[in-house]
Every structure is written in structure tokens, then in C-alpha cells.
């Protein structure tokens, strides 16, 4: 149920404090509220629903071509034995990615943002209504390939995970700092290509930690399977924790 866009009840609840004065016959109203407050309210609604159902939601962010969908196909193939899974695919156009995920039997909603450059919490809220998320499941949100805008938009996820393929260069965190500062985990993908390119793993991690000292770093290759076990272990541990939290809240 969307309580904010007019397609459901509870259409408005403003929490801001107002104070007024007048200036030249005009009424000056103090508001002090986040510009993206509306998105953040949708995000909180999504987060509440995830917590209530024990769903671990991760928001995968990267530039186009980092191998997000390939990694997701591999991850879902291995994890579907462990947890019920669902996927929200964000792209400007086409349902090519959603079809790749559906082919392995995981419920997937494709969101096309058209001219938009990122997913927002409202779109995700409607997608999760359609997905009918199972209890103690894992929801992967594959954001639109973009290293700038998704940093600002909370979708209600437990964690943003930045995926950086080694072909993109070890200075990427410095060039697009917002997303790496907002992410909880950095996944270095396509490490099977390291032998062929000048990518300094240590320098890349150092660059990411300069922005975000607490960022967790994983290295993997979805093609060869190297590092996939640690990645699945991390997601599985987080999913179990989300499931336990549901019991605590119940």
C-alpha cells in the first residue's frame, strides 16, 4: 500500500516545525526539512516492511558494465537453495536483465526509469507490493548503472553494496566518492582479469578506505567463481541476522 502518492490512505503527515514572520507583505515560513524528505518517508515505509518480514534487502550500485547482473545470476543460483529470493531490476530501458534472472527461477520485477538515472523509494515500494516478499527472504535491488545519483536515494535497504570491476581503474573511488562513501561493502569484480591489466588492488582499497574507513571489501570473479564463497557467506550471515531481528520485533 502506498500511503504517500495518493494511491493509499494516510496521505500526509508533516513533521517540520514552522515559524513565521512577514517581509514586505509576504509570509516567510521556516521549514527546515530535507528536500528528499518524501523519498525518505517512502524508504522508511519500505524498511519497516522489510524488518517486519525479516527480509534482507541489498541495493547493488555500480557503473554500467561492472558485471552486476552476471554476479547476481551466479549469486542467485547458489543462494536460492538457502533462502527465498526476489530481485528488482532497475534499467532505463528493456527487460533484458530481468529475463536473465527469471531464467533461473527467481521472481523478478523490472523497473524502467525512462529518462531517470536512479531508482527511488516510491518505485521500489510499488515493486515490493507486486513481489509479495516471503518471510526471511533476500531481496536484491539492482540499481540503474550510475555511480552518482543512487548515492542520494535511500530505498529502505539494509546496505548499499558498490560493485567495481577491475577494468574500471583503481582510482574510481576517488573520482566518484559519493557512492563509495555511502556503501557498506565494496565488491571488486572480474578479478580473473587482474593478470592482464594495471589495476592495483591495494591502492584501490586504500582509496576507498580514505573515503569510508569502515567499508568492507570483497574480491571475486563471477566467471571463475573465485571469492564467491565469501560473498555468499556474507549475504547469508546478514540474511540470518535479518530473520532473527524479525523474531525480536515480533
Amino acid at each position: 500500500m502506498c500511503g504517500l502518492c495518493g494511491c493509499g490512505p494516510d496521505s500526509d503527515h508533516i513533521h517540520s516545525k514552522h515559524d513565521h514572520h512577514t517581509s514586505g507583505g509576504h509570509d516567510v515560513v521556516r521549514i527546515e526539512r530535507d528536500i528528499l524528505a518524501k523519498n525518505d518517508r517512502y524508504a522508511e515505509d519500505n524498511r519497516e516492511l522489510f524488518q517486519k518480514r525479516g527480509v534482507l534487502t541489498v541495493n547493488l550500485v555500480s557503473s554500467p558494465g561492472s558485471g552486476k547482473t552476471t554476479l547476481l545470476v551466479r549469486t542467485a543460483t547458489e543462494m536460492k537453495r538457502l533462502f527465498p529470493l526476489a530481485v528488482i531490476e532497475g534499467d532505463q530501458q528493456t527487460s533484458i536483465d530481468a529475463e536473465r534472472i527469471r531464467a533461473i527461477g527467481v521472481p523478478t520485477i523490472q523497473l524502467n526509469t525512462g529518462r531517470g538515472c536512479h531508482l527511488d523509494a516510491h518505485m521500489v515500494g510499488h515493486a515490493i507490493e507486486e513481489l509479495e516478499l516471503k518471510e526471511d527472504s533476500v531481496l536484491f535491488i539492482e540499481n540503474v548503472g550510475n555511480l552518482v545519483c543512487p548515492a542520494n536515494f535511500d530505498l529502505g535497504e539494509a546496505e548499499k553494496i558498490a560493485i567495481l570491476s577491475v577494468t574500471e581503474g583503481d582510482d574510481k573511488p576517488l573520482k566518484y566518492p559519493d557512492i563509495f562513501a555511502a556503501a557498506g561493502t565494496l565488491v571488486l569484480s572480474k578479478i580473473d582479469l587482474l593478470a592482464h591489466i594495471d589495476f592495483d588492488v591495494e591502492r584501490c582499497i586504500e582509496n576507498a578506505r580514505a573515503l569510508n574507513p569502515r567499508i568492507e571489501v570483497l574480491q571475486l570473479s563471477a566467471r571463475t567463481g573465485e571469492g564467491i564463497d565469501r560473498w555468499i557467506d556474507k549475504l547469508a550471515a546478514d540474511a540470518r541476522q535479518s530473520a532473527q531481528l524479525r523474531l525480536c520485533h515480533a
Binding site: H26, D27, N152
Partner: protein, 137 residues
């Protein structure tokens, strides 16, 4: 595109306030942007496009920039890093992930034109055709 999304969110929020207060239009909007907020002054260019056809159409946008400050737990004081996203204390060099200011993206205040001022405002701007006065598109 990103700035247009932010501008649209801003205009929607301001229009809601204006409508609730029965204002005839919005004269000005004051916002606060942190140095890390990831939106640039391009917002100035997107704002007229987002405001077109709304009560914000003729509003002036004021942007107040907030510098980045962090808390260094080692030095126990507020510091300004040497560069944006360089989350290290400029004095002791230790990581300072605790950002105090610089992430803001807030609507601070709005200046509303009350309904009874409609005639006066129209009188002042009678030489302006509102449908063709939008610039920067």
C-alpha cells in the same frame, strides 16, 4: 537529470506548503546544500524547468552552501578536512568518518505571497507574460 529530480522534489514540497497556506504564489525559496550533497549549482538551471506551471514559477532560489566539517575523535575537536571526501584529520592524519556538516540538502524557508497580494503582484508584473518568461530551458 539528477538535479532535475532534486529540483522537482523541492518544487513539490514547496507547492504543498504554499497550497496548505492558501498562498497565491511563492516569492522565494531558501535551501541549504552541504559540500558533500552531490548536487551542484546545476540546480539553478534545473529549477525553472521544475517550477514551470506551478506556484513556484516566479520564485527566486537562494542556495546557502555548508562547508564540510568532521569530528576528530583523537584530537577531540571539529576539523575541516584538506579536501572533500578526504576523511582524515588535517592535523593528526587519522580517519575521521564522523561528518558533522556538509551532507545537508534542506529546504530552509519559503516566502509566500498571500492571496490578497495577488492584485498588487499582478500589477507590478503586468508587462511580463508568465508563459514566456522562463529562462534557461
Amino acid at each position: 537529470m539528477h538535479e532535475l529530480t532534486i529540483a522537482t522534489a523541492l518544487v513539490e514540497q514547496v507547492c504543498d506548503h504554499a497550497k496548505r497556506r492558501n498562498a497565491s504564489s511563492v516569492a522565494s525559496i531558501r535551501i541549504r546544500l552541504g559540500a558533500l550533497s552531490a548536487i551542484s549549482k546545476a540546480l539553478y538551471f534545473c529549477f525553472p524547468a521544475a517550477a514551470r506551471g506551478t506556484s513556484c514559477e516566479n520564485a527566486t532560489l537562494h542556495i546557502e552552501e555548508v562547508p564540510l566539517t568532521v569530528m576528530c575523535t583523537h584530537c577531540e575537536s571539529v576539523k575541516t578536512p584538506a579536501a572533500l571526501f578526504n576523511f582524515r584529520c588535517p592535523d593528526c592524519g587519522r580517519p575521521t568518518p564522523k561528518v558533522l556538516t556538509g551532507r545537508e540538502m534542506q529546504l530552509v524557508s519559503i516566502e509566500l505571497v498571500p492571496p490578497d497580494a495577488l492584485v498588487a503582484v499582478n500589477g507590478l508584473s503586468s508587462d511580463v507574460d508568465t508563459t514566456s518568461s522562463i529562462q534557461g530551458l
